[in-house]
Amino acid sequence: MMRELLIIRRNHSYWFCMVLFPLFTIVFFTSLMDDGLPHEMPIGVVDLDNTSTSRSMTRRLDAFQMSKVVAHYPSVSEARRAIQRNEIYGFLYIPKGTTEKLTSARQPKISYYYSYTTLASGALLMKDLKTISTLGSAAVGQATLLAKGATDAQVQTLLQPIRIDLHQIANPWTNYNVYLTTTFVPGMIMLFILLISAYSLGNEIKFGTSKQWMRRAQNRMVIALIGKFLPQFLIYLAVVMFYEWYVFFHLGFPHLGSAWTLLLIAVMQVLASQGFGIFVFGLMPSLRMSMSVCSLWGVLSFSMVGAAFPVMGMDAPLQALSWLFPLRHYYMLYQIIVFNGYPLLEAWFHFVALGAFMLLPWFVISKLKNAMLNYVYIP
């Protein structure tokens, strides 16, 4: 174990990958999406009507938190070109004669074009559009009803007979940061653990120190492995605990689970990825192959985790395949016991699965021993 600490101190890659890069990732994601929701996204207006009504509509749109009217365009095709030049994300089109038709009750039609090439901005701009169109309609209806002598309560009822009472459990601000950071940062940390586990084993063979390492442990593989990975485990645990403290306590991300559940999933996360990393190296005791597999597997798990695009929307074979990714189980565990604060029993399957990942090295122990004692590194 002391020997491992010395190795970690001497080789700068460890220092970078185990501490600096994870910290960088934490800072990167939390600062990138500091707003939580995108504010003041640039949009345009094509106002061919140009009356006080249409201008007040533009002003109302501008007053929304998400949208900011940055330009007026003389025609639709000009506005479309502005989207293609990435100057705006969408535009409101008010055709000529809108006010005239509105006052004479001939149901004018306005249109709202928005680009869906960025899903987040598209969805949010659409929300603003829905609100403004409802408000526009409501203003006219309200004026008519008030003229007929209805009370305010009656007007409200008539305009919107059924109201949706929305409860956004655990994330009432619809904060994107909460979604992305809590999946991608642990994912990155797990990716590093996978890589470093394979890397540190492979380097023993590469630099021909594996026999010396085995001798220290009296040729017992289990002791050798524990000695090698215990210091790493402690460092990772410290990093993960720092991440959890920073995100959940310092930045105040929602967490309904207790501090014990946080500690539990931190330990599970580190051990399961170490287990998987050792297992991959045991299957392919070559530094380059195992690291390639680990990195490809790790990068793929960001898609298979199903945080952005849900697993239930994927094809059935992929749904089954997602079980093979430790990050997927970590995410489910986090989501059930920390984010929503349900009891651990509800997530037993994912708990057991992570446990299974920890035990994976068991299958390859003899192969690993053979590799450590007999293999010679070929560049």
Partner: protein, 419 residues
């Protein structure tokens, strides 16, 4: 010796290095993985993952305390919508909550017992929607469906209560201002169509840099003293080395680039508005910039595995910095600046606009020019680092020679001493 002879010699050396590099690429399984297997297989895998584009039929549980024809109509209309499926009926909120916690449903629709009474008394009725917020798309589907149904039922009630003479009058009264919302460039709001183009372009740069780094690492490890440049008659001109290697990578990635940017989107029916020539115009500077970027990075790695640790790590941040998933206008200025260092940032932006949004090359001129700037800049960086490597190797060789002489002398001295 004429200048033509020099040029002829140079071209011959370039071709020699090109061939040597080609041989090395095909003999190194690590490089083969990143140059061929990953660019060929990964796009297919990603496209498969996101091929369904949207989620339909989100399971929802209903708690109906009202049991009236009104509440049942609401439930039926939700169930008939494409995005929501009424999977369970629960007796009370506790039962519904336990269904949510077991991941069987994603949202709860709650109808209070006075739902239809309020409607018939001309008071505003409410429907409670409780969403599990762990999946954005599920939340959006459950909430939007309920909202649409409530608006639709509200409009029907308004029309009935208003006592209008004609259908047209009722239609105008319930909706004085008609609004068309037109999502453009990705009309179905598909997840794959939005994220895949960026991923495809990023794969090109990442695999290229990884492959170049690995192959440089191999050269170093094979060479006895850890040098990047072998001692050989052909490796004595800076430009020859850089161009020779670049030609080899360019040859491979001309094929891979076409596969990634043209073939894959066509196979999986992602938006493809740009024609082949426009994309090739974009690919040329991007591939060159990535190659020189990769060569510059490869010189900084001593061991072949370290490049993997580095490049795998930056992939995800690079994807975010390109402004695909988080709007560009909301990325902090500091990170925007950092993103300017990587060719992929500009290539992704340009590619998305050309291919998904049907822009012309003149609309993406800033990005396009930046790619050429990158190409030239990284070409000089690559030349510089290779120059440093070369002089180091030359000095190293001279040192070794001197050392050998010295040690030979020492041995002689020793032998004299022992005598």
């Amino acid at each position: 010796m004429s200048i033509f002879h020099d040029i002829y010699n140079g071209i011959q050396d370039i071709c020699y290095i090109w061939r040597e590099e080609m041989k090395q690429v095909f003999h190194d399984e690590g490089v083969i993985i990143f140059f061929f297997v990953v660019p060929l297989v990964y796009p297919l895998l990603y496209s498969w993952i996101y091929n369904n584009e949207t989620v339909h039929e989100i399971p929802v549980v209903v708690v109906d305390d009202n049991h009236s024809s009104m509440s049942r109509k609401f439930i039926r209309m939700c169930d008939a919508s494409p995005d929501v499926k009424i999977a369970f009926y629960a007796q009370d909120m506790d039962e519904a909550k336990s269904l949510v916690s077991r991941q069987l449903v994603k949202a709860v629709y709650y109808f209070p017992s006075d739902f239809d009474a309020k409607l018939n008394r001309m008071e505003q009725a409410t429907v409670g929607v409780y969403c599990d917020m762990s999946l954005m798309l599920a939340y959006k589907a459950a909430f939007q469906t309920a909202q649409l149904v409530s608006m639709q039922m509200g409009a029907e009630m308004k029309a009935k209560l208003g006592g209008y003479y004609t259908n047209r009058e009722a239609a105008i009264a319930t909706k004085p201002l008609d609004v068309a919302d037109v999502p453009i460039f990705n009309p179905q709001g598909g997840y794959g169509s939005f994220v895949l183009p960026a991923v495809l372009v990023l794969i090109l740069q990442q695999t290229l840099v990884l492959g170049i780094g690995l192959s440089a690492g191999t050269t170093r490890e094979k060479s006895r003293y850890g040098w990047l440049i072998p001692v050989s008659r052909h490796y004595h001109g800076l430009l020859r080395i850089v161009w020779g290697k670049a030609l080899c990578y360019f040859m491979i990635y001309a094929v891979m680039g076409v596969w990634l940017t043209m073939a894959v989107p066509r196979i999986f029916h992602f938006p493809q508005l740009a024609d082949g020539w426009t994309l090739l115009t974009l690919l040329l500077p991007y591939t060159l910039a990535s190659i020189f970027f990769g060569m510059a990075v490869s010189c900084m790695v001593t061991y072949r595995e370290n490049v993997m640790l580095l490049m795998v790590f930056v992939s995800l941040p690079l994807l975010f910095l390109s402004g695909v998933s988080w709007p560009l206008s909301n990325i902090p200025a500091f990170w925007q600046g950092a993103a300017w260092m990587f060719p992929s940032t500009f290539a992704i932006r340009a590619y998305v606009r050309l291919n998904s949004m049907g822009a012309s090359i003149s609309d993406v001129m800033t990005e396009y020019n930046m790619l050429w700037v990158h190409t030239i800049f990284y070409f000089f960086v690559a030349c510089t680092v290779y120059y440093v490597q070369m002089s180091r190797a030359r000095r190293g060789t001279l040192d070794r020679l001197a050392q050998k002489k010295q040690s030979a002398d020492d041995v002689e001295d020793d032998s004299i001493d022992t005598k």
